[in-house]
């Protein structure tokens, strides 16, 4: 990772100098974060940092084709699928982060909604089925291997899984082969998904030196170092 960061500095600046400057910025950021934390503990109100920017997204994916060969009755000839989106997240060490919330990924009109779900490690994801027929969610991904089986829409508790290992989990349906979704399990509470234009806004960030990462697909992750100071907003684009 360090190699990537150093090589991204402008020409003419030696790797050694670049490394020293980077470390100095990191140190500065750490101190800024400590000062901010102390002010917070003293009850002095400070605003958290914000990053906003834009990511160049890949071309629009081709929508899936539903196999209806032996399922004569299948609603939805044209499926709306999520266009390509990116996950933007802040990576670093975060003290005292809250317990992950419970989030949902629904099945509606024979599609997962949302089709891309970033979660913090340890998050419980519920999978309500809002379709009149069965679905059978499963994953063979190394980060999370499970098979929920077939369950009724009105069953309680709603079937769920706790995502307790970092990585990308591909969700599929054993009944409808076109259904696909991704769960990106991250080790950070600070993440967001871009909109369809690639714009994003990360708010309530702590001060300090971190790495801002952009996940585009399983093989494409972009990253840039960032030092955050409280009560400031930064713009970072990923062209």
């Amino acid at each position: 990772m360090k190699k990537f960061l150093l090589s991204s500095y402008p020409d003419g600046l030696s790797r050694r100098w670049a490394g020293s400057i980077y470390e100095a910025i990191q140190e500065l950021g750490t101190w800024a974060w400590r000062v901010g934390s102390c002010l917070g503990l003293l009850g002095i109100s400070v605003e958290a940092a914000t990053i906003e920017g834009r990511v160049s997204l890949p071309k629009v994916r081709v929508a899936p084709v539903i196999n209806q060969r032996y399922e004569i009755i299948a609603t939805g000839g044209v499926l709306g699928t999520n266009p390509p989106l990116a996950v933007v997240y802040l990576e670093g060490k975060f003290a005292g982060a809250a317990t992950p919330a419970v989030v949902q990924m629904i099945q509606r009109e024979m599609a997962f909604v949302p089709a891309l779900l970033p979660v913090r490690i340890g998050t419980k994801v519920e999978f309500p089925n809002l379709d009149p027929g069965f679905h059978n969610i499963f994953s063979f991904s190394l980060a999370k291997r499970f098979d929920l089986g077939r369950y009724r829409s009105d069953e309680k508790p709603v079937p769920s899984q706790v995502f307790d290992a970092l990585g990308l989990v591909t969700l599929r349906c054993d009944i409808h082969e076109h259904m696909r979704a991704l769960v990106l399990v991250l080790d950070t509470p600070y993440f967001t998904i871009t909109d369809e234009e690639g714009s994003f806004r990360l708010i309530d960030l702590p001060a300090g030196a971190f790495t801002l990462k952009v996940w585009l697909d399983s093989k494409t992750i972009r990253e840039r170092p960032v030092v955050l100071v409280r009560d400031t907003a930064r713009r970072m684009d990923f062209p």
Partner: protein, 414 residues
Amino acid sequence: MSWIRFILVFLGGWPLAFGSDEFSDRLEQLLTVSTRDGRLRGRMSGTLEIESYAMQLPAPGLLYSESAFLTAPRWNVFLDVQMGAEFYFFAQVRADRGFDPGAAGAQVRLDEYALRFTPWRDSRLNVQVGRFATAVGNWGARHGAWSNPFITAPLPYENLTGMWDTEAVPLSRVLLLWSHVYPGSQGKETLAEKFQRVPIIWGPSYTTGILVAGELGRWRYAGELKLGSLASRPDAWMHGLEEWTHPTVSGRLGYRPNQMWNLGVSASAGPYLRDFATVNFKTGVGRGDFEQRVVAADVTFGWHQWQMWSEVFASRFCIPKIGDVDTVSYYSEVKYKLTPQWFLAGRWNQQLFSTILDRGVATKWGADVWRIDFSPGYRFSAYTQLKFQYSLQHGDSACRDFTRTLAAQLTLRF
């Protein structure tokens, strides 16, 4: 690259070779095309199936082999095209050693093709024209190697009765001889003879025809007009090889009380005799008199890791001037997923035959059969699956009381 990896890649076993579904996911995207607005979309997909059988001769069911060991590879290629919400086209091309596993040479066939029109989005009406699986029963919707936990079909779909479709039964004694149940003459069934016999319903029955189907609330209906009867063999499914003079009419009415249960009743009527078998008929008897009439009921259940299917078929073969002969066959099948990758399945099948009068003596026109199938399966990935099947059958074969068959099937899909 090691030889093992080379062989796996050669066979199309990329998920096994590389231990990842990502390659297959990307291939799937590569084989999907679409117009800019997404209204016209097409996808090519398929499976590569390699199945092997170790069996006691004569080969049971729809296996055509004079050897105790048979390997039958098959390459299926599917094309699915969606044109808006109104039109859907699909086709299936197969390269294998015959429609049913056998020792024949390689052949390539267009087994299925159909165009479906759905005028309303709520699926109250669908009209489909082409060559496609029958709407009767519930096995047709899950007969593919990937979704079917077993390698062979249930008994009603593959147990050959003594009835021929190539020649009309001239005497009741002849039918008993064809069925190998004539008292005192229990000869061994030959492979040549096997090509004459028909089951109650021949596999998925990809017969040419037209289908009208829809969903109204919890009810589903389907009615089809097809070229051949449910018992007709693959040779008779194609337009051009059979005439439309005596189409088969079939229908199914389904009810779904909730997501777990699917219930259905079906009926079908049409001639089982091939067109060419009627050439020497005397006046007063026609092809339409040799009718197969079927009534059936099916039930499907699913909940958590359990799935269950059951069907019962009652079939009557009408034989002018001799009488009608009946047979009833049913099966119950259960599948349980032990883990995300392992599953177990069991199936109980039975077929019973009615009697026919031969010189004043009522004799069963077929040997009652029961069979139990057991199948463990494992999914290496979302695209690779290995299944085994052990079957123990009682009856049918004149050579022994019990017939055992062991089968294995590797399925790779893309």
